[in-house]
Amino acid sequence: MSKRQVKIYPRFERIWHWTQALLIFALLFTGLGLNGLHHILPFGPAAMLHSAAAILLLVLWIFATFWLFTTGTWRQFVPTLDGLFGVVRYYAYGVFKGEQPPYLKILWRKHNPLQSLSYLGLKIAVFPMVWITGILYMTYNFWETVPNAGFYLNIVANLHLLAAYIVAAFVVIHIYMLTIGHGFRAHVKPMITGYDEIDLSPEEEAYLEKDEPWRLKKS
């Protein structure tokens, strides 16, 4: 095994991540304004920006989904119990004792089990809740003729709001997690440069050296 600087976040993933982050912040900010929680932006401009950001994020997601499936990177999000307990134990206990983080990034698995479980949860529960309620909300005029549409709109709007708050809570925890282990800068840097320190098996290293040399930073 040898530690090498390997490009594990290709350009698209980084653009995806940061664009998504920006749009989620824009959506949270404008959305909370639309909800009436703040009045930094007037309602009209907030509504337009919220819709625009939502449409952009939808487009980005369509690209990302396509990208995940064509590149096979969707496997990164397949949940595993392997090592999950160790990670949970570390965050709940070990971190206070100054223990080493129990999980090391390997080439085909850049998220720790807790991370991939959380991201999977986001992807299959929270984000769909946001999208489904958001699209229903936005297209209210197409279904307002169904009986009790006003009542359903109320439900849709409140579920959308709830989903938004779950995303907000996730963002809080997500950012905090960056401060654990390697430290904030060490965590954020790979999401900017794409390179992270990875333990490579001799076979992996040989493969990368031969077939994907661009992924290895010359040390």
Partner: protein
């Protein structure tokens, strides 16, 4: 249809008219004629008609002359609400019209006819218990060289053609002569229907001037309803004789310069638009060939998708789409008439009749404690009428409205323990035909029959009688006489009851950039705060889901703060040991 075509044809020509009546309200000489585009689009110049080359001595004589060519106009007019003052509401079956209703302004016509029917589009209606007279015999002195246009059989010369078609600008009706114009000899102190000192009308000049209706023709009555400028409607005032774009984007003299009839299209003297049977929305069409034109709604011209979505800026496109999404729930007027009584003329917002009759040592009290923005002092108390309140730039009262209106009729049993709705407007959030509409909500306090619990008629005008309230200040006599004039049973006891009356606001459309903004409604305590039964984003940030969500985020924050704090106190080396 012929008349309608002529009307439409003249719309462009009328755009050239300069109306000056508004500025001349106080003068006693006849106002100057507005510029008449004779021959501009019409094939007739009435000043060349032989039958009009003479001195007329009465209004009906002019009508007789008109009817020799316009053979069906009298019959058409006599079936119009302008003449009958009667309207059967197809939605409720109620028989309405000024002839039948009691309102919260001047009350009732019965018993006060010569005063009230001064705005009647006919001559000589001085008895409400009978329909308006069809023929008038007033006037003699025809030029014997001309065929004498006395009404032929079936011809109805009590119709007042000039009230609506005079374009000389100097035709008017006297305030107290049951529809007749001021002519020589003129009673002392006579006023016109707009409250100006009366002048002698030149009927010949008026007859030769006729053309399609101008704003002055409609406005001279409709702007002065309820006893003064803008008193009644709130969105119809003398400002509309010559409004700026800010006040009315359609009627602005330096803009589109619409007349009333541009929207209130007439067909055989039936004029589109009704406050009794309102169109809360217009499902009929947008003025395409063959589409219904007997509508006077915004949608008739602007469609139900009025906001542009072809802008170059994507955000503007989103804006247009979102605004168009509102049209099936919000009337155009709601956003586009942000306030009424704009342009400098106030509207009466409260009229309390119960305080009328107070005298100062037998003398009439007049207080003028409201100053209109143009500097004019308005009455806040009159011994004849009671207490008033006024408003300018008034924020409307908003309500769901589907066009159905039910009136509290003189025979309706009321509950005097709470405010009586003179007209109840129908509609709700659950009703797909309802829109959120702006209204002027008139607050009133008026007489009622305390024995039978119904609204009371009162006899207020009639200088020579000993029952008229305005000369005798005795409610008991005035109400008894009013009930008698209307043929209504009277218990003999009267009281005063709080009333509310709703006037849909549809005029004084502001330019688009002055329309309401989203935040005016989408906010806590926004303009629609009083409306329930629907979900509107922005009005309730602390809903159950909202509170739950906020608690969840707070819990996450507290969790990470606690976690971080524990890390700090438990292991100082944490974060440095993995370099």
């Amino acid at each position: 249809m012929r008349y309608q075509r002529v009307l439409n044809g003249f719309a462009a020509g009328l755009a050239l008219l300069t109306l000056s009546l508004g500025a001349q309200a106080q003068q006693s000489t006849a106002p100057d004629a507005p510029e008449i585009p004779v021959g501009a689009t019409s094939t007739a110049d009435h000043s060349k008609f032989a039958i009009l080359q003479r001195d007329f001595t009465s209004g009906p004589e002019v009508t007789s002359a008109c009817l020799t060519c316009h053979t069906e106009a009298d019959d058409q007019m006599m079936h119009s609400i302008h003449f009958t003052w009667e309207f059967e509401n197809p939605k409720t079956g109620q028989l309405l019209g000024k002839r039948h209703v009691i309102n919260s302004f001047c009350g009732n016509v019965a018993g006060n006819e010569p005063r009230c029917t001064s705005c009647h589009a006919g001559y000589g209606w001085d008895d409400m218990s009978n329909p308006p007279p069809r023929q008038s015999t007033v006037g003699t002195g025809w030029d014997t060289t001309l065929p004498r246009p006395t009404p032929a059989n079936g011809q109805n010369n009590a119709v007042d053609c000039l009230a609506c078609h005079d374009r000389s600008g100097q035709y008017t009706k006297a305030a107290t002569l049951a529809g007749h114009p001021p002519l020589n000899p003129m009673p002392d102190g006579l006023k016109t229907i707009t409250g100006a000192k009366a002048w002698v009308v030149d009927l010949k000049r008026a007859a030769q001037s006729v053309g399609p209706t101008g704003r002055d023709n409609c406005g001279n009555c409709h702007f002065y309803g309820g006893g003064g400028d803008n008193v009644k409607h709130g969105d119809l005032s003398s400002v509309l004789y010559k409004p700026t774009k800010e006040v009315d984007v359609h009627m602005a003299a330096d803009g589109l310069n619409f007349t009333c009839s541009t929207c209130h299209v007439a067909d055989q003297h039936q004029i589109a638009g009704s406050r009794y049977d309102a169109m809360a929305t217009d499902p009929h069409g947008t003025g395409k060939p063959g589409a219904a034109r007997t509508t006077a709604t915004c949608e008739s011209c602007h469609s139900d998708r009025p906001h542009p979505i072809a802008a170059s800026n994507p955000l503007e496109v989103l804006r247009g789409v979102k605004l168009n999404d509102h049209t099936n729930r919000v009337a155009c007027q709601t956003c586009h008439i942000p306030e009424f009584a704009r342009g400098g003329v106030a509207t009466k917002t409260l009229w309390d009749w119960s305080t009328a009759g107070q005298l100062d040592n037998g003398k009439i009290i007049k207080r003028e404690e409201y100053t209109q923005s143009d500097g004019k002092e308005l009455h806040t108390y009159l011994s004849t009428k009671g207490d008033f309140e006024w408003g300018e730039d008034v924020v409307p009262y908003y309500s769901w409205f589907n066009g159905k209106v039910e009136y509290t009729m003189p025979e309706t049993i009321i509950d005097p323990s709470k405010p009586v709705e003179i007209n109840h407007i129908f509609g709700s959030a659950d009703d797909p035909d309802s829109r959120i509409w702006p209204f002027k909500r008139m607050i009133g306090r008026q007489a009622y029959d305390a024995g039978f619990n119904k609204l009371a008629y009162s006899h207020v005008w009639g200088p020579e009688t000993d029952t008229a309230f305005w000369t005798n200040f005795d409610w008991a006599k005035a109400i008894k006489a009013g009930m008698k004039a209307a043929g209504s049973d009277y218990s003999g006891e009267y009281g005063f009851v709080d009333t509310r009356m709703y006037w849909p606001i549809a005029h004084m459309v502001a330019p688009a950039e002055k329309a309401l903004e989203c935040k005016d409604c989408h906010a806590e305590d926004g303009r629609l705060e009083g409306l329930d039964g629907f979900y509107m984003p922005g009005r309730n940030p602390v809903s159950t889901a909202g509170i739950f969500g906020i608690l969840m985020v707070l819990a996450a924050l507290l969790g990470v703060l606690g976690h971080g704090l524990l890390r700090l106190v438990s292991n100082k080396k944490q974060g440095k040991n993995h370099e």
